[in-house]
Symmetry: C2
Subunit: 268 residues, 2 copies
Amino acid sequence: MDNVKPISAAQLKFLKKLDQKKFREESAKFIVEGPHPVTELLSSDWKVDYILVRKDAYEEGRLSAISSSAKKRGIQVQMAAKREFDAVADTVTSQGVLAVVHTNKGRSTPDWRAGAKKLTIVGLNTISDPGNLGTIIRTCAWFGVDYLLLDGGSVDVFNPKVVRASMGALFHLTVIVDADLKKSIADAKLHGVIVYSTTLKGGILLDSCTFDNRSMFLLGNEARGVEEKLHAASDIALMIPRFGAGESLNVAVACGIVLQRATASFPK
Amino acid sequence: MDNVKPISAAQLKFLKKLDQKKFREESAKFIVEGPHPVTELLSSDWKVDYILVRKDAYEEGRLSAISSSAKKRGIQVQMAAKREFDAVADTVTSQGVLAVVHTNKGRSTPDWRAGAKKLTIVGLNTISDPGNLGTIIRTCAWFGVDYLLLDGGSVDVFNPKVVRASMGALFHLTVIVDADLKKSIADAKLHGVIVYSTTLKGGILLDSCTFDNRSMFLLGNEARGVEEKLHAASDIALMIPRFGAGESLNVAVACGIVLQRATASFPK
C-alpha cells in the first residue's frame, strides 16, 4: 500500500461531475479510463493530476506496471473501493484504473510555417458522433497528422466516449478545439497549404489526385457533409469513388481512406 | 387511417423479445428502425413482415412515403400509441417507424464460380463490436463487395446496433453468417480467389501490392487481429503502413482502406 492514498469523498464528488461537458470546461480536467489508454497517457507529455485504482485490481497486482510508471513520473496513485470506483467510472472497460488529466488546449492555431517538408492537417466540421471523433483521432495518429482542427459545432473531444474510442491516440496528436475553419482555410492558402474538401459527389476522384506534402483535409458532419461555405473556400473537392450499391461512407472510414492515399503519395 | 391496423398486445410482447439474440434466432425475425433504413429495406428484396408506425408521426404525415411504398409492395402498416412504440423501439433515431423483417440466411457459402471478371469477398474473424460490424457492412456495400462472411465468433448481424450502424446497407449485401473461414479459405484457393490477410506487422505494404480481380480479404478481432491458423492459411499478409505514433487502426477503417486500394487497382 506504499504511498497509495485513499480517495476522499470530495474527490469522488468532483470525479462524478466530470461526465458533464460544462464541468470539464470549468475545471479544465477530464477522465481517461482503462489500462491501455492510461499507459499511452503516461508515455505522453500530458499533465496528469492523479491515477485512481480500484482496490481489488490493485491488490491483485494487475496495475503494477501503471503504478510504477506513475511513480517514476511523480504522479500520485490513489485508491477507491469497488463501489466508489464503479460510481465514477463510465464503463466496464476501465478495468479498475483511471486517470484525472488536465485538458490540453494549448494551441489555438497550427504553426503554419512548420513542416516545410510535410504538414498534414485534418479539419472537422460539426462531427457529432463521439465514436466517430475518437476513431478519427486514432486514424490521424496512425497516419502522422500534425494538427487536428475541431470546430465549435463538433462533439467535445474530452467526452468519455471520444477518449475511449481514440484508444490513447489523443495523447499523441495536437488537437485544436473551437477552431475557426473558415479562417484556417484562408491561413492555409496564405501559407501554401492545399485545402481538400471531401464530398460524396462532384469532386475529383481520389485516385486521380496527387497530393501536396503540405495538405489540409476537411471532413464534414455525418448527415450533412462539409458546410457549403467551407467547401466553396477549399482548393480541391475530393471524392471517394463508389463501386457498389452503398449510399455513403462512415466519416472515420472516409478519413482513413483519404489519409492513406495522401500519405502514400506524398513526394518522398 | 386507411388500412392501418392497430398493433395487438401479443405483437408488442413479441417485438419486445426481439432484442434478445436467442429470440431473433428462434423466430427468424429482427427489427429495423428509422426512416432511412426502412426506406432502404423497402427498396430491397428482403421479406418484410409488417411496418409499425407511431401514431403521432404517422398523423403528422411524416411517414407518407414509407406507407405508400409499403402498400405498393402489399406490406401491412400497423400503428402503435407513443407509449407502446417507445417501449419496443431501441433508439430515439427510430423517428416513429420500424419494420419487422425476416432474417435472411439464404446462402451458406459463396457461389465461387460467379464473378469470373470480379469477385470480392470480405471474411470477418470474431468481430465483437456491433458498431464496427455495422460500419464494415456499410463500407462493403459502398465498394461493391459480393459476399461478407461472418464467422460464428462475431457479433450477431441482426443485433439492433449492427443494423443501425449499417445505415440500411445490410439490405444490399449478401452476408453469410456462421461461416467456416478455414474452409472458405481452402475453397477460395481451389477456385482461384487470392486470400489476403490483414496484419499490423510483417506483411506486404498495401501500396506495393497488386490485387487480383478475384480476391478475399480477412479482417480480425479488434484486440487480437486475424487468428493465426487463418493468417497462416492465407496467400498474402497485407499491412497498412503507419506514418505516425498511432498504435493501431480501427478495423472498419482498415477495411475501408484495403477495399479502396483493391477496387482502385482491379484490372479494368
